[in-house]
C-alpha cells in the first residue's frame, strides 16, 4: 500500500517525537510553573504528598520522555538525511532549515543531558531515594532547581528553532 511508504515511517517517528516532547516539556513546565512555586505554600505535614508520591512519579515520566524525545528526534534527522548537517548548524551546507533544526537539536541535547546527568541524580538525593546528609540535600536541591530553570529557559528558543525549521524554512 502506497500510504505506508518511507515518508509515513519518518512521520510516525516525528509523531512519537512530538508526543514524547509534549510530555517532557509539559512536565518540565509543571515542575517550574506549578510544583516548585506551590511548595512554599504547602503545610509541612502535606509536603510528603508531593515529595513522596507526585514528584517521583512525575520525574519517572519526565526523564524517560526526555530520552525518548532525543532518540526519536535523532531517528527523524537520520532518516531525512540531515543529521550531520544539522549538528553542524548548517555551516557545512548553508541550508537554513538545517541551521534552525540544528540549533534546536543542540539545545534539546543539552537539556536532555541536564535531565539525566544533573537533575535526576540530584533529585534522588532531595527525595531521599539515595542516602544524603541534610547539607548535601540542600546543595542538591539548589543544583537541581537551577538546572531545571536552565531547561525552562532553553525550552523557549529550542521550540522556536524546531517549529520554525518545520514552518518557515
Amino acid at each position: 500500500m502506497e500510504y505506508f511508504d518511507n515518508n509515513w515511517l519518518i512521520f510516525m517517528f516525528r509523531w512519537l517525537h512530538v508526543l514524547s516532547g509534549v510530555m517532557w516539556i509539559g512536565l518540565l513546565w509543571y515542575f517550574n510553573f506549578v510544583q516548585t512555586p506551590s511548595m512554599a505554600k504547602i503545610a509541612a505535614e502535606h509536603k510528603p504528598a508531593v515529595t513522596k508520591h507526585i514528584a517521583p512519579e512525575a520525574l519517572f515520566w519526565f526523564r524517560w520522555s526526555a530520552l525518548s524525545t532525543v532518540i526519536t528526534g535523532l531517528i527523524v534527522a537520520q532518516m531525512n538525511g540531515y543529521v550531520e548537517s544539522a549538528l553542524a548548524m548548517g555551516l557545512t551546507d548553508g541550508v537554513l532549515k538545517h541551521a534552525a533544526i540544528g540549533f534546536g537539536m543542540w539545545l534539546g541535547l543539552i537539556m536532555a543531558a541536564n535531565v539525566w546527568f544533573i537533575i535526576w541524580p540530584n533529585q534522588k538525593k532531595v527525595l531521599g531515594m539515595v542516602e544524603a546528609t541534610a547539607d548535601e540535600k540542600a546543595k542538591a536541591a539548589r543544583t537541581a532547581a537551577l538546572a531545571s530553570r536552565t531547561n525552562t529557559m532553553l525550552s523557549i528558543p529550542m521550540l522556536y528553532a524546531m517549529v520554525s525549521a518545520q514552518n518557515i524554512y
Binding site: G94, A99, F103, L146, T152, M153, S155, I156, P157, A161
Partner: protein, 32 residues
C-alpha cells in the same frame, strides 16, 4: 547578585533573549 533564573519572569526573559540571538544568527545566515 540574584540569579535571574530564581524568578520565572527572569527565566522567560533570558529564554526570549536567546531566541532573539538565534533569530539574529538566522538573519545573518540568510544574507539579511
Amino acid at each position: 547578585m540574584k540569579n535571574p533564573l530564581d524568578s520565572l519572569t527572569g527565566t522567560i526573559i533570558a529564554g526570549l533573549v536567546i531566541t532573539a540571538l538565534h533569530i539574529f544568527y538566522m538573519i545573518n545566515m540568510s544574507g539579511g
